[in-house]
Symmetry: C6
Subunit: 270 residues, 6 copies
């Protein structure tokens, strides 16, 4: 039933605007099935990039959002009770390894170290997954590849034993032109309006006290928020109202930051 | 059986008195199915507003009160044992995504970060819910929308990666006139009595040492408490007794605060 | 089988001696089914008062003693395995809401905040209980009322969002005359002996260093302890022995406090 | 099958040497079925006393040793899976309440407060046990009595709400004569040898730095240890060897304390 | 099937070289079935001694290695699901008590206090095991004896209420002659080589900074390590290589300690 | 079915380049089935070495990656529900002990002490595994051997009682020549390119502030990373790009370290 994993195949090309040579680099790592680590802040397009590559390489894509309560069993699988007794159900990592999908571990750094050690035998030359509870030693499908992402600005760090099993790629944030292009594409506003929204976003970054550049990247107005503002305008919201909902209120609860963003909006829409 | 979710439809218009342009703003976010975050202190009418909008937009409404022990499984669903073996039961988020309801996550900020990451794929352009334990990738129904609320005065903060997936709306507390109107509507007392109760509530706010404005909003005499006082009077309680039960005793255990509220009540009922 | 909940009906009038106007106040809150919070120290008769009112109003009474390990499932219900598979069993709160009982949550403040949020939708105008695990939205029976009690001298505090859903009533401790009446009624000693016991109890309160009045109330000789002393005397124990068992030894392990109480007993029985 | 609880009846009189009027006091509390709290250090004979009284009153005795991991379900009961589905199994407290046994909670103070609140409705005039998970409100059998013990020297304290439901009795440690009598009775050594062992025990108490009298009681050479020494002698061990095993090595690992005890033994056996 | 517990009988005499009068002392405690506590550092032969005594007394031996996650259920037993429903499975302590084995609790001090209280009724004159979950009060078999061991150098301490139920025996480490005899017996090297190995072990003890004598005992080169070195030599390893693997590398990771041990080895094999 | 454990046999010789006399040392420990501990930093080839030895000795190899959430049951086995009721499933350690495999515990030091005590009876002369939950005392197969590895630079330490049951072997990192040989063999680059990559790796070690030598070993550019770089080049990546992905980005997120590595790469490829 899961042969070929049709449910996990991406049938329409996901829109992705490259910012460097990342398409070729992903292909080179994929050719050797090397585990690949994508580094970049929240909203930098990591998830969209992986979706695009899974489509381009014609591979099923199984995504797991990592979190602190995720156990090794959540990745590997477990026994469930059936009319015939207990039956093993593959977890997403096992499913991907068995059928040759790309397994994308989003926010890898949020996972507990003990869940991550379960990845080690798959992420080196063994390419095997010992399913201890099932008593099976699963040899990964030749097409299987492990991809993971994380935000290097997080407080947590990956163990060297995990990290060194991956080759890595840093995704740079899009420049102003690329960002405006994305806003036009995803919200339907005019290029001129998109440019104004981008200018506000870049102004907002400058107007905030940023403790360090990473912190800055995280708490900045992301491309996604600009797309939201554009979408609300397309539904008839005034530019000020759309920016208040999508940028000012969504960004922070601090009244001073809110006022600074409102002033910026005001400056661009008078 | 859950097709259309008749049990979760609101059949009578819930009373809601708008304080600004929030009705239109909710409609604009709903038109694009953007995840919407409502900000406001306890008792500011967030829940009633969402009920009103679900009625106005003719959508089923599934409410989840978030708390620290809520797991991702509580939102997504789980396997339960049946005469035929284990059967999957959709959780409230899955139910809403599958059948096109508004899923309202009350007190979002109380949820653990790992429960919140389960929302991410539904709250961006993917609008998909990976049910890892079921091995299903659920594509959300076109009508599905995510709405959440929280009290910005809480000590906890949302992760930027969660927060930036939402557009946001701050609900202002009603002014004196609006508040009196609500008390009349909900308790059945006369406008004059409602005005007196509102005056006591506003006096009580002034008489307390408030460390900051947020703290103030939380611990103040809410509209709900005034409605309670009115209801007790309608059942024959003397005004002083009704205010003692609904305002003084319900507000706090501190004897000084209690005495200050009693003095205020005394001043308005002599 | 649980229709009407005959097992939870109180068939004989529980003895309760009112100390103020609490009988009428309970009736007024009940008339509107407002959630009611009873405040008072351990042993002040809160439980007996609720039993009396359930009898007087002819409602079944379902009591839940709250504690730190009580989960939302303990209140709402859970699936249990049966010969036909898993069957849902209503928890006490659900049972009361479904069949129109008074649900009495004793020591509400001991419950974890996450168990308490399960009460919120029942404790406001919605009067509904979302049973997420069952996929049912239970509308409360018209007779259902929520009553809770707590000791305001505890270190813990209720969240405003919980507290403001209730109207509240403080139960004063009985005066000396009322207390003696209770001791006579419940133990069978003569009014003269009851008066002596009450005098000892009041003396014991005075003889202790009380850090604050609340602490005092908690650690004082309660009416229940005087009843115990009376009962032991009726079984043939000498007054000194009965007081030693029911008052001195039961009150505290501190030798100085014990000696002070013994001196008081001695003074009243020479 | 459990009607009358024959398995829990004590058929031979357990040896117990009273140290005061505790036999009558237990009977008086039992006549009114008052919950009874026994206070005394480890090894002071609390358990033996309860066994003796259960025999004397001809009641089954169900003993529960409390500890920090004991849950309310361990006391009340739980559902277990059977060929016919889940079947309820009474816990020891429920069993005792249903069939009229004495339920003895040894080391009550070790139990978690949330397990203790489960006792409250049984330990006041209601004498009822709400079995929430079973949906049963069990009225206690007329013969049921709750007895508990604890060591007042422990660091933990009982909540007043728990403690004040009991009448209490402090068991004094036996004097030298009584202690020697017990050693003769239980080990079979001669009265002269028993007297020597008692003298060593009392010397050992004096030779130690005791921070307070309670600490002292706990870490002292108990009657049980003297009985052990006597039993080893009866099996052919030399007095010095028996004392080394039963007193010195069993008491503490501190070499100075060990040497002091050895010196005492030496002094009594030269 | 478990009648007589043939699987747990020891059929060949385990090699044990006594260091004092411990064989007689064990027999005397066993004659009265007194609970016996063996004290001694890791590697002092406690386990071998118990195996030897079980063989000598012709009793089955059930060993439990205590640890912090061991629950009372791990000792007592639990219900397991079978084709006929749930069936009770005796835990190792219950098995031993029911069929008259010696139950040996290795590293008793590692167990949690709440698991240890489950031992109390078996470890005093009652010799009974209340299996609360099964509703059985098991009277121990006349042959049953409880034996436990612990390392007195551990940071943890036994509760007096547990400790005083045992008689105790300290096992001294073997002297040089005895140690060499064991090495010859267990590895097959010549007495001369064994003597050299013992000399290295004793030198290594002297060359280390020992904070206290207990610490010293724990981290020293144990008899077991000397046996390993002898065994490697018998397999053809050079003396230096065998000592490096069995002594130096196995003892510690500190390079200074390693060098000191290597120097000692060098001095004995030139 | 698992007789002989064909799934766990290694059929092709795994490439392993010895750095010392470790092949003979492993064989000597294996001849006596002594538990063997391999010490060395992440990436030093411990896993490959064990795979090679299992192949060379013709033994099945069962690998367990230890982590903090691994329980004793994960090692020993558990009951699972089947059509016929519960059936015991051997865990990996039990499987290895029963059928004579080498059980390799990778990262032993990550396991919790209570999981490790389960190893003790298997790791001394008893060679027995008490399966308490199954009521079986499993005598290990004559071919069974326990092998474990850990990184001595970790913060955690093994308990002496665990550690002293093993003989130990430290694996030195390969020298430059050996390392280049491995890179050629595993990636397919020319010896000249491999030498350049090795030179970069050794330069990178020198350019970093290493707090201590162990820390240094862990965070250095490992042989595995050089192999990755070579593999990317073989897929067409430019040398600079391959080194950026496999070395610079994979090593650390610190911009200064990254720049230093980039400078080194630049120096070797101009």
């Amino acid at each position: 039933m899961t042969q070929g994993l049709p449910e996990w195949r991406i049938t329409r090309e996901p829109y992705y605007r490259p910012v460097g040579d990342e398409l070729a680099q992903f292909r080179q790592a994929h050719a050797r099935r090397l585990p690949l680590l994508l580094k970049g802040p929240s909203g930098s397009g990591k998830t969209r990039f992986v979706e695009h590559m899974a489509w381009a390489l014609d591979r099923p894509l199984i995504t797991v959002v990592c979190h602190e309560d995720m156990t090794a069993s959540d990745l590997l699988g477990r026994y469930l009770l059936d009319a015939q007794g207990t039956v093993w159900h593959d977890g997403p990592l096992t499913l991907a390894a068995r059928h040759g999908a790309i397994c994308y571990l989003d926010e890898l750094i949020e996972a507990r170290p003990d869940a991550l050690v379960a990845l080690h035998p798959l992420a080196d030359t063994r390419r095997a997954l010992p399913l201890e509870r099932k008593g099976e030693l699963l040899q990964a499908h030749p097409n299987f590849q492990l991809v993971a992402s994380y935000n290097p600005g997080s407080n947590r760090a990956l163990q060297p034993a995990t990290r060194q099993r991956f080759v890595a790629l840093a995704l740079a944030p899009p420049n102003a032109e690329a960002q405006a292009e994305i806003v036009v594409q995803e919200s339907g506003v005019t290029p001129a309006m998109a440019a104004r929204l981008v200018a506000i976003a870049r102004g907002a970054c400058g107007s905030r006290d940023s403790q360090d550049s990473q912190d800055h990247a995280d708490a900045a107005v992301s491309t996604r928020m600009l797309v939201h503002a554009g979408q609300l305008m397309r539904e008839g919201a005034a530019a000020r109202v759309a920016c208040d909902m999508a940028l000012t209120q969504a960004l922070d609860d601090d009244p001073e930051i809110a006022q600074a963003v409102r002033d910026l909006v005001e400056a661009h829409f008078t």
